[in-house]
């Protein structure tokens, strides 16, 4: 596989959330800028933060934090260069839905746009207002922005920093992975799924995790405390800053101890920004030997979340992605009357899509709109 490049250890470690402020279009097609520090009012709002979106910008990633794992933050209002509401939070007096979704995120807030070809960006003076729900206590956060200004390719690539965290029980580490048939099959499967979206895997940097392996080999996340996940994603592992960092762990475990198969920061994640709790994604490797395609599916699914895609239909069918060409499976498809939509009920309505909420290895399709979003992400070339 010629697209594999073995790079063990720290390569190109040249950026962090405070240190990559070029203020100009760099040779790599990214323009980064510190926006300053902002203290929220008692309602949790930062006020308008000005953005100078370059005419050449194909995507914009505003990121703010950190504000702690016990606090949630989200976007309150984004106004475009014409002064129109590009996005408003559903609690905003001027709320009107647009083809954009922003999560409610703990500790660190990446906000990526556009996430739909129906809602593109234009250059000019924009404003961004964040909402940090800290219960009336003002929070001071640092904000910065990444503009992607190079051309968007129809045949795009994304570098992967694959980080092995205590999975030597599978015989898997940075030294063995390049020749591990199952691991390579997982990468091939993921690449095959992304092919419909015009995205392929670029350089693969193989990295052994050198931090607290005992802590992070099984990542424990709770419904109200995802600090262990966030602290892992903050770890400086090196690799390509313009790429995606994927931590391959033994398992992710929920509040009650159930197995979670994959989790991406955000979504979307803090692409090209290292050292934050939203700077990567985690994949459970337990299925690698039995079903490498399954691990590849999870890599493709979580990677697409990180780059800006949401589930085509969420578990109950009450929420969908902001894309026009992805099938929707709504609550009316829930023919058995239980509390979730299964693949059978959503046959022909998106269960064959990689971004269905419960995909399997037969969920192999991606749409043109999904590819449009993926290829625009700042982490992609």
């Amino acid at each position: 596989m010629t697209w594999l490049i073995l790079l063990i250890g720290t390569l190109l470690a040249c950026g962090d959330k405070d240190g990559d402020d070029t203020g100009a279009t760099g040779a790599d097609g990214l323009q980064t800028q510190s926006l300053g520090s902002f203290t929220t009012d008692t309602g949790g709002l930062t006020g308008d933060i000005p953005l100078e979106v370059p005419d050449a910008a194909s995507s914009v990633l505003v990121h703010c934090g950190d504000y702690g794992y016990d606090v949630l933050g989200t976007a309150w209002q984004i106004k475009d260069a014409a002064g129109a509401n590009y996005y408003t939070n559903s609690f905003h007096d001027e709320y009107a839905p647009t083809k954009m979704r922003v999560g409610n995120l703990d500790d660190y807030l990446p906000v990526l746009f556009p996430v739909s070809p129906d809602h593109d960006v234009t250059g000019g003076a924009w404003t961004f207002n964040a909402w940090i729900a800290s219960g009336g206590t003002p929070k001071t956060i640092d904000c910065a922005v990444v503009y992607r200004t190079d051309a968007v390719s129809d045949a795009a690539t994304v570098d992967l920093n694959v980080v092995f965290v205590g999975v030597d029980g599978l015989g898997l580490d940075a030294g063995t992975a390049p020749d591990d048939a199952d691991f390579q099959a997982a990468l091939d499967f993921a690449q095959g799924l992304w092919a419909d979206a015009g995205l392929s895997i670029g350089a693969v940097n193989y990295i052994d995790f050198t931090g607290n392996v005992d802590r992070f080999a099984v990542v424990d996340v709770s419904d109200d405390d995802s600090s262990e996940l966030g602290e892992l994603l903050k770890e400086d592992v090196g690799g390509s800053v313009r790429g995606m960092t994927v931590f391959f762990v033994q398992e992710i475990a929920s509040s009650s101890g159930a197995t979670i198969i994959g989790l991406a920061a955000g979504p979307p994640g803090a692409a090209t920004v290292t050292g934050t709790s939203k700077s990567g994604m985690v994949v459970t490797t337990a299925d690698l030997r039995a079903a490498p395609d399954q691990v590849g599916l999870i890599l493709a699914h979580e990677g697409a979340h990180f780059l800006g895609l949401f589930h085509t239909s969420e578990k109950t069918g009450e929420q969908h992605d902001p894309l026009s060409d992805t099938p929707e499976c709504g609550p009316d498809s829930n023919t058995d009357g239980n509390s979730y939509l299964d693949r059978e009920e959503c046959a022909g309505k998106g269960s064959d899509n990689v971004m269905f909420w419960a995909p399997d290895t037969a969920s192999t399709t991606m749409t043109g709109d999904q590819g449009w979003v993926l290829r625009r992400n700042p982490a992609v070339r």
Partner: protein, 187 residues
């Protein structure tokens, strides 16, 4: 990690943590179980999902026979480990002699992923009565099984569970396991 913001006006944003998905021990009356396999499709559908994990209510809503199907899935080598792991974990929501026997054997069976799920399931399903069953796993050779057992006993939270953790702390040599015990005892 995405979560729901409280449905409050933005001027009253006190963020209250979402309720934990606590696994309630539901002493379901033993009913005549369906033949293994009859419920395979709906139970597997409930166990699906990448980020979303199945809930007790979702599995219980499938009806009689789910416990038997979960036991079959838990032991089915043709299924991927994460599906089996979700089945083992879910057995904690269907406490019976049969499920406990399977969980006890899984706890010591040598598959560390399934053993961790068995530890949580025993704690979730049997509460304080699981403490003597779990205590030996605090001395397991696998660090991640020890951490999972600590967290499972932390979830039980009883005096007996805390006592077991306190005893282990005096012996525990691994820094991460010890830190997890200390955090549990501090809660």
């Amino acid at each position: 990690m995405r979560r729901a913001l409280p449905a409050l006006a933005h001027t009253a944003l006190a963020h209250t943590a979402l309720a934990l998905a606590v696994a309630l021990p539901l002493a379901l009356a033993a009913t005549s179980p369906a033949l293994a396999g009859d419920l395979r499709a709906p139970v597997l559908a409930a166990l699906a999902g990448v980020e979303d994990v199945p809930t007790a209510a979702e599995l219980q809503a499938i009806g009689a026979g789910v416990e038997g199907e979960l036991m079959e899935i838990a032991q089915d080598n043709s299924l991927v480990p994460t599906t089996r792991a979700r089945a083992v974990h879910a057995l904690g929501w269907f406490p019976s002699e049969g499920s406990q026997a399977l969980l006890r054997s899984t706890l010591t069976g040598g598959d560390t992923l399934l053993a961790r799920k068995a530890a949580y399931a025993l704690a979730n399903g049997w509460g304080d009565a699981s403490v003597p069953l779990l205590q030996p796993a605090l001395a397991a050779s696998d660090v991640q099984l020890r951490i999972a057992t600590v967290r499972a006993l932390d979830g039980v939270g009883s005096e007996a569970a805390r006592s077991a953790l306190g005893q282990r702390l005096t012996l525990e040599a691994n820094a991460e396991v010890a830190a997890t015990i200390r955090k549990a005892l501090a809660d």
